[in-house]
């Protein structure tokens, strides 16, 4: 999953559909994100390529909506409800995930284990 700015990205993705949980006034998803084009990418422990400024899942709350939907720590979020997440600021990413009128968000995520699984099945 090499990341070269300016080059089209090819990745094996998994669809994750998160149904947000209402807690009082808020709709929570149950995970944390890190990254963004305005952030320092060298601090991301999950990216293969340390220049990758994409949005990564840094924490998943146990039993929360994200975990239930299959999201995993270390996942890179490529798209949210059709909106690209590979070239956004941290705050833009947050906004796209926390729209008040959206109870469901459909993510496309990629993770290293997916890549490896496909490679292995191709080789056998």
């Amino acid at each position: 999953m090499a990341f070269v700015p300016g080059q089209p990205v090819t990745a094996i993705v998994q669809r994750i559909e998160i149904h947000k949980l209402r807690q009082g006034d808020n709709l929570i998803l149950g995970f944390s994100i890190g990254g963004g084009i305005d952030q320092d990418p060298t601090q991301n422990p999950f990216s293969e390529d340390k220049t990758d400024k994409g949005i990564y899942v840094t924490r998943v709350t146990e039993g929360g909506p994200a975990e239930v939907a299959g999201l995993q720590i270390g996942d890179k979020i490529m798209q949210v409800n059709g909106w690209d997440m590979t070239m956004v600021t941290h705050d833009q990413a947050r906004k796209r995930l926390t729209k008040r009128n959206e109870e469901v968000v459909r993510l496309l995520v990629t993770r290293q284990s997916l890549q490896k699984a496909v490679q292995q099945s191709m080789m056998s």
Binding site: I28, G30, F31, S32, G34, Q39, R59, R94, T98
Partner: protein
């Protein structure tokens, strides 16, 4: 203090309507009677970074603290012990009122916390040059520690911190003397500095004190900071030194490429030593310079920002000379920065200072910008204040947002 192990689960005690914080506190029935007089109750208000008046409640075996007998003890907080003056923040009065409203909340720290604080106090007393800016700490953890309880104020503070936590992951406490606004602003500015601001680049920047003194004789009454043992040189020479130091430090730090190294350099600079305080004096002088510029511009009929009118509308500062005598000379000693002076600071630095004012949560003043209509290319630094008196800084090192 010994803890009866069978009660540590708190199961039996939970029958009474006890808030969840009680689980942390192991002061159980009968045991805490040894604590009379030595217990410091943090009450439901925050432990402030400067010395404060803490209220202790007499703990009776009914299991609830009684508010009728109140023991007041003045505790020198770890950071205050480094300051020579006793800084009693305004909000200590507020604290007194709040604790009397709150009778349900358990106000005791448990044994672990007391031990931890004792160790911290020993460390603090032994070293003189502790950092002026504490290491970062998770915002919500900090908030949970400082604001327990359910008074409207505590709730508002917690909501305020939650809002800050949307954008920032951590908070760093700033030493709470009357320089804290300078400290917070300068620290934030330097932490993200990648170049010298335009006004620092100008050739005759260091000629400023000489130029102004030749035009305005009253500047001779400028209050230089007291340096023990060192002879006070000519005012303009001293101030020139401070300005040179400011430029040097800014230049060095802005040239550091790596964000972590830059952060380290800032931590090293803000170590409660002479250098740090020289920088604040430089900032004060720059504020005076800006004030003079604005005052003259206004007199000559040129447009000035609104805060400039407010600045000079005060009885105590109807002109730059009074501003110096009654305000600037006192900053760092007997007073901090008033709000209108925050505007002046922002203008002098050509930075936008964005402040989360937590006590204004749910009003449109919650996030206040100094100045309100910022110029496009002025960099933004962010501060947090609970009461417009003491400032801390939010930092983003963890770059994580909880959703």
């Amino acid at each position: 203090m010994t803890e009866p192990p069978s009660l540590s689960a708190g199961a039996e005690e939970e029958k009474e309507s006890v808030p969840t914080q009680l689980m942390k506190h192991k002061n159980e029935v009968g045991v805490a009677s040894e604590e009379l007089g030595s217990t410091n109750a943090a009450a439901d208000q925050k432990e402030q970074t400067t010395s404060e008046i803490r209220q202790g409640c007499v703990y009776r075996s009914s299991g609830r603290p009684e508010n009728t007998d109140i023991i007041k003890s003045v505790v020198m907080d770890q950071e205050a012990s480094r300051n020579c003056e006793l800084y009693v923040p305004m909000s200590s009065n507020r604290s007194a009122m709040e604790s009397s409203e709150e009778s349900e909340e358990d106000m005791y720290r448990d044994e672990e916390e007391i031990q931890r604080e004792k160790i911290l106090l020993c460390e603090a007393n032994s070293s003189e040059h502790k950092p002026s800016v504490s290491p970062e700490m998770d915002i919500m953890e900090y908030c949970a520690k400082e604001w327990r309880g359910n008074t409207p104020v505590a709730k508002r503070m917690r909501k305020g911190y939650e809002a800050v936590a949307q954008k920032f992951a951590s908070i760093r406490r700033i030493r709470g003397d009357n320089y804290c606004a300078f400290r917070a602003t300068l620290f934030q500015a330097l932490s993200q500095a990648t170049q010298l601001p335009r006004w620092l680049q100008s050739e005759d920047f260091t000629m400023l004190p000489e130029n102004l003194l030749s035009k305005y004789d009253w500047i001779k009454q400028w209050q230089l900071k007291q340096k023990p043992g060192k002879k006070m040189g000519e005012i303009s020479d001293e101030i020139k030194e401070y300005l040179i130091l400011l430029r040097k430090k800014w230049k060095n730090i802005s040239e550091i490429k790596s964000p972590t190294e830059k952060q380290e350099a800032c931590d090293k600079l803000f170590k409660n030593e002479d250098e740090e305080y020289s920088l604040y004096e430089a900032l004060k002088f720059l504020m005076l310079n800006t004030a003079i510029e604005l005052y003259n511009a206004d007199k000559n009929g040129r447009r000035v920002p609104v805060f400039s009118w407010l600045l000079f509308a005060r009885d105590t500062s109807s002109n730059p000379c009074q501003l110096m005598q009654n305000h600037l000379n006192h900053i760092g000693h007997s007073g901090g920065l008033e709000q209108v002076e925050m505007f002046l600071l922002a203008y002098a630095l050509q930075y936008t200072i964005q402040v989360y004012r937590l006590y204004k949560y749910s009003t449109d003043e919650f996030i206040t910008l100094y100045p309100n209509d910022p110029e496009e290319d002025w960099p933004v630094v962010t501060l947090i204040t609970e009461d417009d008196r003491h400032y801390n800084i939010p930092v983003r090192m963890c770059q994580e947002t909880m959703l």
